[in-house]
Amino acid sequence: MVAVAQHPNIKMYTYSEVEAVNGYIGNFTVTIRQKAKYVDWDKCNGCGTCETKCPTKKLKSEFDLGLGNRTAIYKAFPQAVPNKPVIDAENCRKLKNGKCGVCEKICPTQAINFDDKDELITENVGAIVMATGFDLFDWTQTYGEYGYGKFPDVITGLQFERLVNASGPTGGKIKRPSDGKTPQSVAFIKCVGSRDDTKGKTYCSRACCMYTAKHSLQVLEKIPGGEAYVFYMDVRTAGKNYEEFYQRSLNAGAKYIRGRVSKIYPRGDRLVLKSEDTLLGMPIEVEADLVVLATAMEPARGAEEIAKLVGFSTDKDGFFQEAHPKLQPVETFTGGVYLAGACQGPKDIPDTVAQASGAAVKVAMLFSKPELSTQPMVSEVDVSKCSGCEFCVPICPYQAISMKQVEERGPKGPITRQAAAVNEGLCQGCGACISACRSGALNLKGFTDEQILAEVDALCL
């Protein structure tokens, strides 16, 4: 992270979103909205005094997934990059009702600026790498049998990560969210939302088998006498050293039970998991203090919108569509737009890093040439036939057609009129404009009307 921030060739816009993308491969114009931070990061030295003094202290930390608290002026976590805070305008007393301003008073560098506004920035780039990642399937909306989220001790794998993380809300000690006690028995349920076409997604989320193996190992290592139960459909450990890692969790004592948990309900301060052990062919009941769900990865919130905005397609699950599943896993159908990581499909870290480097090479390949050669099978206009009706303009999915003024000889001297003009960099040769052209002025090079009719003749004559 720090390497990114310190790299002389990288300019970071955090707390920012891409608002508009225009142009085409090699020549994109991007509008970026930098959201109001209410803190002048040029002045702020990241000392953190404001966070300790902010009176609004009991906000749920998004970074800790609700397991810890944060203040209204906050850094997501102590090692944030850049290491500067922002003010959460929705919850800041000063911004909400004008009273407070403690942070402004105590800030040693006068960095607080309550008048801060969103800022629009324009940048020109030649290539775009999409790396918008994933979010987790919201199991609380669909999994009634696991309590719809009403049992505090049923958590997700990512929440478990915060519990075992040394910089997390419990300082790395595994504690139950309900009462802060150390759980003696932890149950893991895999494929929550993935491989479940009735409630969730049809696909396998790929990383869960491995992180659940890791979680069970952490329970057994961190909790003396602790027990880890893993309910699974299949154990999928395709990856270098993955099977060995899974075996390590088995050897450490993780108890794997093949079956889907059909019900979770409380008994005293514990939770009961009812399931079937499909290998034994009999019902099974496990009591646990904490239940961890391996929830499906799904496209990050807003993925569909940004795909539309940048101008490329998504697949049936909303992940970004690669140009070819085997041979072009990094490219999209839009020239100059590349994919990296889980935005293209569920992925673990090694695969993500590999694809990200692949995307970087594609960008470097594009930049290594002095100029780009365009494919010549593009639309062309016969200006003498074009009536300037503009029908082709809205039809073009690539905004490649515009109207230009042409001068020609009229009965009483030169006259000016408008005619269509095709931008050969933008045109992808799809042919949509040709069928829309009423005067027959447009033709696709390599697929002219004459050529198409010759094909028809070949069959019919």
Binding site: H7, N9, A80, V129, T132, A340, Q355, V361, E371, L372
Partner: protein, 193 residues
């Protein structure tokens, strides 16, 4: 009439098990302009491409038709071969007799007839092909990376290390994404920060 060469690919058994490629090549010789036609086991292979290049020179071909797989697979391969053979790469047509024929049909007679029809269409079309020249457009040598998680950071660093400028946009106030929320990561259990 332009001199046309037709090259029919067996694709191992992918095409040849359903389409009688020899017959397609034979029938192609009856089509207008066709002065040379042959089939070969793998047209995309080096010897396959050499076959095309040689025929262009020895038979003075002016147009080339290759009947093989989807253009998405090998159109560029054959365009390049045609170019290397001395023709404008766009004086070439590709016919898909694999994905749109042998892979979806069982009846050998019908599939072969369809392949011949498709080849005839391409021959008629290629006679009307004109040489085309690619244009050029300038490139702004700066990249935009959207997302500052592990994927975005890795991409940004790699691009930046090749010497090009990178703009990294992240919607949260900090980069790091999901990765920094994780504790140790499998299978090596090293820290993720």
């Amino acid at each position: 009439m332009k001199r046309v060469g037709v090259f029919v690919c067996d694709c191992g058994t992918n095409i040849a098990s359903v389409v009688d490629t020899e017959r397609v090549a034979r029938e192609a010789l009856e089509m207008p302009g066709v002065v040379y036609a042959t089939n070969y086991k793998y047209m995309c292979s080096d010897p396959g491409q050499d076959l095309i290049k040689k025929a262009i020179q020895e038979q003075n071909l002016e147009r080339v038709v290759v009947a093989s797989c989807s253009p998405r697979m090998h159109e560029n391969t054959f365009r390049k071969a045609v170019g290397d053979g001395g023709l404008n790469p766009y004086l070439f047509e590709m016919v898909n007799i694999r994905e749109q024929n042998s892979w979806v049909h069982n009846d050998k007679e019908e599939a072969t007839r369809k392949a011949s029809d498709l080849v005839r269409m391409a021959v008629f079309k290629v006679l009307k092909n004109e040489p085309l020249q690619p244009g050029t457009i300038p490139v702004t040598k700066r990249a935009l990376v959207i997302g500052g998680g592990i994927a975005g950071m890795q991409s940004a660093l790699d691009i930046a290390d090749t010497g090009y400028e990178v703009i990294l946009v992240e919607r949260e106030a900090t980069i790091g994404g999901k990765m920094v929320q994780l504790d140790k990561t499998f299978p090596t259990l090293d820290c993720s920060a």
